[in-house]
Amino acid sequence: MNSILHKDYTVVRDDYARAGKVSSDIKATLSTIGIPPSVLRNIAVASYESEINMIIHAWGGDITMDVFDNGTITLVFKDPGPGIPDLEKAMTPGWSTASDEARNMGFGAGMGLPNIKRVSDTFDIETSEKGTTITLGFTVA
């Protein structure tokens, strides 16, 4: 399978003002090539939550999007750390380590990772103190 559309983005730590910009661009880009609204909505949720996690919890990071010729879309979110100490807890709805600053802005509901997993067709996460990589797959039905 070959990538027919590839984009790279960078997210900056604590840059709350620009949070969501990458997700908006991903959604707009995929919309222009005719990805159905139902798939776009799931991608928007997963992308936004992952982008926010990089801003709130990680030290920023890189996002890549690929659309493949077999009708699948892959999003990879790779950050340089500090990693998720307890992944099982992080996957539990309602559990959060968000800062007071983040909570004051309505983040920290503890729904980020559960939301991402729920709306993605495939979900893979690898984490250590050297960083976290989340790979999400979506199938265009």
Partner: protein, 110 residues
């Protein structure tokens, strides 16, 4: 009902994106926790919240809400108004608490 009709029937004030009032209001969602709203909101809903920072606009755009209704006289910063204009998401001020705001929508059959 669209956003223009909603404004006419409630008397609420539109403070941003007045060129986009033809958006259909197909329901409503109340919430201030962004991930909760992101995970449970549906397109065309009017989103009632007291959150007024930049990320509210991002969530509304990505979730395809018809408009954002700011309750309880929460004061919206200038840069947030500018982002709402840029993204074409109408911002309304109800001037009443969240519960009263939602009740008004129920009375209108939303």
């Amino acid at each position: 009902m669209n956003v223009q009709e909603l404004i006419e029937k409630t008397g609420w004030t539109c403070i941003a994106a007045k060129e986009h009032l033809d958006r259909t209001v197909g329901g409503a969602y109340c919430g201030d926790l962004l991930s909760w709203v992101m995970g449970n909101g549906e397109p065309e809903q009017a989103w009632i919240t007291v959150q007024v920072h930049m990320n509210v606009i991002a969530v509304a755009v990505l979730r395809e809400f018809s408009c954002i209704v700011i309750a309880d006289n929460a004061s919206v910063p200038e840069e947030v108004l500018a982002r709402a204009e840029e993204e074409g998401i109408p911002l309304l001020e109800s001037g009443i608490p969240v519960f009263e705001t939602a009740k008004k929508l129920v009375e209108l059959g939303i």
